[in-house]
Symmetry: C2
Subunit: 530 residues, 2 copies
């Protein structure tokens, strides 16, 4: 597939007026033959203007029309699967199987939102009927639904070039909500992004969607990214990335004359608690499953297990021995970018130099010309861990810290010391339930997902998923960026009082033609109102 | 009832270590015999520490236990009704009937949240059952519920000394969610607040609630208020007040190392559109009903109609004539505080001096020693209105601007020029529906509630209510501060994956003992899972 290197404004490919750059293959440093062009500030403004004009039309679309659009994007993506796989493996050094799987997930997300729209009750309609005879004052007819916020800026993530990128979860949920999207692309995979954006353009044309509904820009986060976040036409932002970059953009979003919601998923260490009876029974199995989770995407998952917490004793020794035995054989692998690799190596060096940390083992040594990461496992005594808050910070890459506690009280103290994370995992047997039940209320206050006997690395596409958590794992802990509820980031309530039926949105009309589930006079019902 | 003038920390009345102040009666400037004491920064920290300790226990309470607590507060408030009425009328210059009504509303809010807790489905539980045989990977069991955020700071409003104050909507919804509350009291009604807080303390004692669940502090917003908002133990803020004060506190909340949600209801002008056929049919009736709405609480409702928009012609002339005829007889009345009155007078003088504005009429002249407001109605040509954005700003008090448009296009242009407001109203007949249907999508983007043939001044307590809107009417347009949905400001999602049934929160257990409505495998159901 031909890559133009252009930017996309309102479904038109244009030469960017900013600097040029090349894509590169992290596994060998090779530069792309094509040159990509960054957007200028004026071009970014043209994209938001087009989005804001398109919003007036697109926000009024029926759920069915938006669902068809989302499904069509999925079909168009499937058509260019081989081009995406070829380009994405080159740009990210991720294996074919992973890219194929991630493309399936991306299409699955689009279809999941299409299904949500077809089911029809995502706006959570509520109807309180009038009581004209109520004393001392008549009660009006009141009906509640949701409307889209307006144009949304989506910042692509480096670590999921498809599922959290151009046509990823943020884009899908915003489009489903009725919001136009401007993607600020991640320059770690610009060619992949162009192919994906072309599929969206094809769907826009097929479905007759206003062209301003989608734009995709290359550009520096500090210039084009900041410009988009502070543009008055933009009404919300989705972001996945580093704490430093995310917080800087968050500050801009909330510092605007009109502050807007900034949905940033920033960083998480995903503590894993190995409770005593489970560790007794499964030390070796846990070592194996842990390594499997750690190695996913070269440790570059936001849900990668960064801290294991266990109580000292023979079973923990078995676990450590098993890790020490298995780790040296773990392959070094290329990371997503040379910059990410450098930063990972620096973090490992810092940990190597800390006197309180013990190296458990390292994997195969890394070829730094290939931006490879070497696996590095460390352990620390809980007493020392509790004194060094920086040990809780995420190391982006395949490194984990085992925190060794004296007893269950100290394990609880470690839990209580935690800040915000996306997930916490517990390995537990039935005989551990007493300790588990003490841990749960502590973890509940600190994470967005609690899972048993597994790792957070698999983030299911589900109506029951929560992918988010207290700061810094998310800048908006009350929302999720995965699963159907993520659509709620891009809508807000509007209440209609004493409104003629003819003027009500379809989900609030008496007839309820789509048989949507509604709360009517505080009872759930799919019935029409007679 | 004896007023001590003390502050309340974790159910204990203490002498504040800050400055002293007296309450005053705005209608005559009389100072209270009692002296009130402001909290010191250390005392504010003691309150948040107690709240954070109490949170560990209170957040785990059953819905039934919290419901009983809320109902008990209501019962205790009813017991001190006469003391509240006596004190609040003295402190606010609002009439007895209003205070009696507002106390009823306040108790109604507490009972509404108790009922919500008893109904049990406010946590919106979702269950996606496991599919162990799914290919290529088994699907885990995933269940979603909500947990409370932590200690909440509530800033009392001046204009609703009960319903948006110590035991008002923010407090009731936070307590219902499972969050301890620290009230930063408004010093316009400190004695009233002490009586109300005593009722909460009585309920805390009766129900055996941890004492740290409630504190109430007097203090300067810029010192104690700012200290509370930036206290790391505080996890959310509810605020009703001015744009200046609210935005300053919002900036502190989002500027913390760990940003927290700030739910500020700041300012709204609540535009009212008088569509042509309705104005033809009802000019005089609209003049009467408008005056009724404007005079509510001396124009000090956040939903007070500040702008009327209509098309020039005979019918608008009839409306203006009717307003000119009725207004001179409208009584001057004392405002909530001398400061509010001064600021109202200043706003009116500014408008008097604007060459583009025409005075329609004024009410009875005001006695400024009694902090009285005189009604002032102005009109402006839409051409001039569209040039002066400051005319959209709220004037807190009984003054309204009539915007006179050439035609329906200009009326739509005025609608499109609007920023964020709490409400918009339309007066319309069936023959106006074409214009109404053009207005609705415009207003939908700009307000939180759209109402027909009435004014926003009545804010129904309902599951279908939305009291909020785009900035500056609210700093969090995706939430409501009135109605059952307001509880959602103080909770966040937590997902449980592969969790043993014994360890799940009750609303997620297979047995579903409370028959809560849940989304199970994407179908609504109150059934148990077998």
């Amino acid at each position: 597939m031909n890559i133009s290197g252009k930017i996309l404004i309102a479904s038109e490919w244009l030469q960017g007026e900013g600097n040029n750059f090349n894509a590169s293959n992290p596994s060998n440093g090779q530069q792309s033959s094509e040159t990509f062009s960054n957007a200028s500030t004026a071009q970014a403004q043209a994209a938001t203007l087009a989005a804001s004009q398109a919003f007036d039309i697109y926000s009024q679309y029926s759920d069915q029309k938006k669902a068809t659009f989302l499904r069509t994007i999925g079909i168009e993506l499937e058509k260019v699967r081989s081009a995406i796989v070829q380009r994405a493996t080159w740009e990210t050094a991720l294996p074919e199987s992973r890219i194929n799987g991630e493309l399936g997930r991306t299409i699955g997300q689009l279809n999941m939102f299409a299904q949500l729209l077809e089911d029809g009750d995502w706006k959570r309609p509520v109807i309180d009927l009038a009581q004209p005879d109520r004393q001392p004052l008549p009660k009006p007819d009141i009906r509640l639904t949701q409307v889209p916020l307006g144009p949304v800026v989506v910042f692509s993530a480096s670590n999921f070039p498809l599922a959290f990128s151009v046509a990823g979860g943020d884009t899908a949920s915003a489009l489903a909500a009725g919001c136009p999207v401007i993607v600020k692309n991640h320059n770690a995979h610009p060619g992949t992004s162009e192919i994906v954006a072309s599929a969206i353009v094809a769907a826009i044309k097929q479905c007759g969607i206003p062209s301003g509904v989608f734009s995709m820009l290359h550009g520096d986060g500090r210039i084009i990214g900041a410009g988009l976040v502070t543009d008055p036409k933009v009404k919300a932002v989705g972001f996945t990335g580093s704490i430093t970059g995310g917080r800087a953009l968050y500050n801009l979003a909330v510092g605007r004359p009109e502050p807007i919601p900034f949905y940033g998923e920033l960083g998480s260490t995903n503590p894993v608690f190995l409770l005593p009876k489970s560790l007794d029974a499964n030390a070796e199995e846990i070592a194996s499953s842990f390594i499997g989770a750690l190695m996913m995407g070269v440790g570059q998952f936001c849900t990668s297990p960064g801290i294991l917490i266990a109580i000292k004793g023979q079973s923990l020794n078995r676990l450590l021995a098993s890790l020490a035995e298995k780790t040296p054989a773990l392959n070094a692998a290329s990371m997503l970018t040379a910059g990410i690799c450098k930063s990972y190596q620096q973090s490992c060096l810092t940990r190597e130099a800390m006197p309180s940390l013990t190296k458990i083992a390292s994997g195969e040594s890394a070829d730094s010309k290939a931006s490879q990461a070497q696996v590095n496992l460390f352990s620390v005594d809980a007493v020392d861990y509790l004194k060094q808050t920086e040990l809780e910070e995420e190391v982006f890459g395949p490194s984990t810290l085992v925190v060794c506690c004296e007893d269950s009280d100290q394990l609880l103290a470690v839990a209580k010391s935690l800040g915000g994370h996306l997930t916490a995992a517990l390995f537990s047997e039935e005989a551990d339930q007493d300790l588990a039940s003490q841990l749960l209320p502590v973890l509940q206050q600190r994470v967005g997902r609690i899972l048993f006997d597994g790792y957070g690395t698999g983030v299911e596409l589900s109506s029951a998923m929560s992918h988010g958590g207290p700061y810094p794992s998310s800048t908006a802990s009350q929302t999720t960026s995965v699963g159907t509820r993520s659509i709620e980031r891009f809508i807000r309530p509007v209440c209609y009082q004493n409104t003629p039926d003819a003027l009500l949105p379809i989900e609030l009309k008496n007839a309820n033609p789509d048989s949507v589930m509604r709360l009517v006079n505080n009872k759930w019902s799919t019935d029409a109102i007679s």
